[in-house]
Amino acid sequence: MSEEVERFLLQEARLLDERRFSAWLELFADDGVYWLPTRPDQTSPHEALSLIYEPRALLAVRVARLERPDMHVQSPPSRTVHHVSAIEVDGDGADITARSALIVSEWRAGESRWFAARVLHRLRRTPPGLRIALKRVDLADSEAPHRAIAVPF
């Protein structure tokens, strides 16, 4: 199971780097949520602000926008490398938790920047394969001022 989950996380990272955002969205369960809290100890999106808290229906709007040519903050587009490591898998087969470390390097419009995060995936086994029920990305500098963030982590 561990190997299967590892493959899933690496494939997810590659979809983002290849800018195949619609395929990335398909990895989310219908009730899946993509979440970037502002606080490392945040237990709920309802207790504090979040950089992103999007049920799949809103995430679909984010993805639709990423595919438009008039998204100014992606003109020119970013080139990213999502580096996933330190994967730890837990679960009973149907509901799986995966914890990982993530480094993202992003190059855009003449500038490079870096993000570091701990990532939590809650995965669900479905007939077509593993699906994301929750992806929580805790940026090391979640409370810091950030310039525009466009490519998902």
Binding site: H46, L49, L51, A60, V61, I149
Partner: protein
């Protein structure tokens, strides 16, 4: 950058409906803004609910300088520079907490919460300890309905006079709370852009930019109509994205109100089919009932009917009473700005209202927002474009009227006018001129 401008005469940077690019790119102009604007006006520092008990403090900023806002034993507030009177070390490093005294980590000088010196080690080695200084105090600190402001200037207009007609924005926010008070909650979002601080304040009342800048989020939301019948968070977000898709004629139904002092607000913003003027879901009805219990039906209806979007307190504050949100613009350098976004809970309102406030702010104002991220991109493009000396002047004449009233007069203009920018510059010119 501005030739023969020593001492710099900022009044020459605004000519009619044009402003010189130096106002956005020249570090000398920024230094003068710091002296003449940020060290003289009232700037927002924190909300009283952040320091409810004696000894509570928060670190905040007054212009570029870090200050400590503390609640003293007698209940009053003190606003102190975070700089030891001895060798200048930053005394407090944790963003908030509760302290009985302030103690410098370097040589352990200690201070009372009013800034006065409590003790120094080796007191016997000083000729007179009584002559040693305490912490530097910010000369003026004042509160308006729980919102605390400070001023580096010992004299000048009082806070109420400075806020003028825009005090009504704070009134409306507090009046929306069934318990009669609001409380800061939810932490903060912080956005940064490599651009001048004025761009944010100008853009916040520019209703022509959404059609171009936000087109990608409007069209992406239009491609997903199912969002309008999804959960409350998604519906609210989709409505907000779609509102930027209004046509010029619709934007012109929005009224841009300018008030004495450089302040601006947008009225008539919410309408059926875009962002509904009022909600009618069960949570909101529960809220309406508790608000009526406080104010009576007539006043409650009047409070809820206030349909303003951004209320801009010149120079650097933006309030949205309906969504309980505040944005504080912090100029760091001529080409570097941080915007901090904060939320307020309407005390006595149902918890679900606060959840929607958080989610609205996430979607509208986060650096990862589908809307705000394109604004940040445009500010950075303006800053890069303004490095060009091919043209020295910037145009702001859209919708100009003969005999237009600016600066210290109240006026109203249709939504697509650039009057708010001209009005902000009239205030800027006045403060910068002497």
């Amino acid at each position: 950058m501005l030739q023969d401008a020593n001492p710099l005469d900022a009044t020459r940077l605004v000519r009619g409906e044009r402003v010189h690019r130096a106002a956005y790119v020249d570090p000398h102009v920024f230094a003068l803004e710091e002296e003449r604007i940020f060290r003289r006006v009232w700037l927002y520092v924190a909300h009283e609910s952040e320091v409810p008990a004696a000894g509570d403090y928060v670190l905040t900023r007054l212009g570029p300088e870090e200050v400590i806002l503390a609640r003293q034993e007698n209940g009053t507030l003190s606003l102190l520079h975070n700089r030891c009177a001895h060798r200048g070390a930053r005394i407090v490093a944790e963003p908030r907490g509760n302290l009985r005294q302030l103690r410098c980590p370097y040589h352990a000088w200690t201070y009372r919460l009013d800034g006065s010196l409590l003790g120094v080690p080796l007191a016997e080695s000083y000729a007179s300890v009584a002559e040693l200084p305490g912490l530097a105090r910010v000369p003026r600190v004042a509160s308006y309905r729980g919102f605390v402001f400070g001023s580096h200037a010992a004299s000048g207009p009082g806070l109420a006079e400075f806020l003028g007609g825009l005090a009504s924005a704070f009134d409306n926010l507090v009046d929306r709370a069934p318990a009669g008070t609001v409380s800061r909650f939810g932490g903060a979002l912080r956005l940064e852009y490599r651009g001048n601080w004025k761009m944010f304040m100008e853009n916040a009342v520019d209703l022509v930019h959404p059609g171009s800048v936000h087109k990608s989020s409007v069209e992406a939301a239009r491609a997903h109509p199912e969002t309008l019948t999804a959960d409350a968070i998604t519906q609210q977000g989709a409505q907000m994205f779609l509102a930027n898709g209004m046509k010029a004629a619709q934007w012109n139904e929005v009224e841009l109100h300018t008030l004495a002092g450089g302040h601006v607000y947008m009225g008539g913003f919410y309408r059926q089919g875009v962002i509904a003027p009022e909600r009618h879901d069960p949570v909101f009805e529960r809220y309406r009932q508790v608000l009526i219990a406080r104010h009576g039906a007539q006043k409650a209806a009047a409070v809820l009917a206030v349909d303003r979007f951004n209320n801009l307190v010149w120079p650097t504050l933006s309030i949205n009473a309906r969504f309980g949100a505040m944005r504080i613009v912090r100029p760091l350098a001529v080409d570097r700005t941080v915007v901090e976004v904060q939320c307020f809970r309407l005390d006595g309102a149902p918890q679900e209202m606060h959840e929607l406030t958080l989610q609205f702010v996430n979607l509208a104002a986060s650096p990862a927002s589908l809307v705000a991220s394109d604004d940040l991109e445009i500010f950075e493009r303006c800053q890069r474009g303004l490095a060009s000396r091919g043209e020295e002047w910037i145009d702001m004449r859209r919708g100009v009227l003969a005999g237009e009233r600016r600066g210290d007069a109240a006026a109203v203009a249709p939504g697509t006018s650039e009057l708010p920018v001209r009005h902000q510059y009239a205030a800027w010119q006045r403060w910068m001129s002497a």
